[in-house]
């Protein structure tokens, strides 16, 4: 009898130690089931495509096994551009620098597939944002954007996702906004989408003009969000309502 009680006590202690919750924890059982079983997850259509693309193009330089852990470290500083880049942008840079192909445009399905494959290789690993000092000013800019009021409704990210997380906005639960599962298959989109697409949704929701895809603001915001979610496990490809 002792062991289960002890294990339960540990679970409770762990729950108290970290109040952060993945959006997964608060989804309905049926949506959770879609994410738990890969043979039910529609994002597998993109993931398998990304896998094929990786094994036909990227293997010239990269081993698939070496991709494990890569997604935990992004956004990372690119010394050539002298600014941070997201995982998706890094893949696109590889494409333009070394494959001499044209860059993919925002939300390109092939691009999303490849990013899903690379991020999926780190599934279950904790997010580990690099301590690189060159990232610090950008991360601070991201924090400022997170608390900056925006749009006609004059809301900041923090007002919903820090102060009112767990509450409801109309019928929907307000999540804590930890970007652990991107690219995600969102049921509302009926498709796969990036973190920037999701952030643009939120901005349109508060009636602000969304930042452009690939803008410096989004990279800064992502840097802050990853820091905020540091240590949480990567779920890619996640399913969200």
């Amino acid at each position: 009898m002792k062991t289960p009680v002890f294990a339960f006590a540990l679970l409770v202690a762990a729950a108290h130690a970290d109040p952060r919750r993945s959006g997964f924890d608060d989804m309905s059982a049926s949506t959770q089931a879609l994410q738990r079983d890969d043979t039910l997850n529609p994002a597998l259509l993109w993931l398998k495509d990304g896998e094929q693309r990786f094994t036909s193009l990227c293997v010239r330089c990269h081993q698939p096994q070496a991709m494990r852990g890569v997604a935990t470290r992004y956004p990372a500083f690119d010394s050539r551009l002298k600014r941070p880049v997201t995982l998706g942008e890094r893949i696109n840079l590889c494409r333009t620098r070394y494959l001499e192909s044209k860059a993919w445009g925002a939300e390109n399905e092939e691009w999303l597939g490849l990013e899903t494959f690379v991020a999926n290789a780190s599934r279950g690993l904790p997010l580990a944002p690099p301590a690189d000092q060159r990232l610090a000013p950008f991360r601070e800019q991201g924090r400022q954007l997170f608390v900056q009021r925006l749009g006609q409704l004059d809301f900041s990210c923090a007002q919903c996702h820090d102060q009112n997380a767990g509450g409801r906005l109309a019928g929907s639960l307000i999540p804590q906004a930890h970007p652990t599962g991107y690219p995600i298959y969102r049921l509302e989109w009926q498709g796969l989408g990036s973190l920037q697409r999701r952030l643009r949704n939120c901005m349109a929701g508060v009636r602000a003009e969304p930042f452009a895809y690939g803008s410096a603001e989004f990279v800064a915001l992502e840097l802050y969000l990853m820091q905020r979610a540091a240590g949480m496990a990567i779920e890619t490809p996640a399913v969200r309502p």
């Binding site: 043979t39 597998l44 259509l45 993109w46 398998k48 495509d49 399905e109 009926q190």
Partner: protein, 106 residues
């Protein structure tokens, strides 16, 4: 994007009930949505799914407009002999696709 995926066991014992799951990339545009210009987005859905096991039809389904994009269909059949499980989807605008997997029965 991979257009269609079939999840089925590769091997089974004769008489086993096996589960087959399929996912296909398709918008399943219902024909009910506004196109923002006063009209409707034209319907574009899958109409039919057929599964043939060793050439014999073992499962078929008709699909309608109220089904989500990228539909998942799951069904069971009995493993009788080694052979090909072949699934054919057909739909609006001449959509037709066939994917198959091998099943070895011992």
């Amino acid at each position: 994007m991979a257009r269609a995926l079939i999840f089925a066991p590769k091997t089974a014992a004769r008489g086993d009930v096996i589960e087959i799951r399929t996912l296909i990339a398709h918008p399943m545009e219902s024909g009910q949505r506004s196109d923002g210009q006063g009209g409707l987005v034209a319907r574009d859905i899958l109409r039919k799914l057929e599964c043939r096991y060793d050439g014999v039809l073992v499962f078929s389904a008709e699909l309608f407009a109220a089904i989500a994009a990228n539909p998942l269909v799951s069904f069971n059949t009995v493993a009788t002999a080694s052979g090909t499980i072949s699934i054919t989807w057909s739909g609006d605008n001449g959509f037709a696709q066939t994917e198959s997997v091998m099943l070895t029965v011992s």
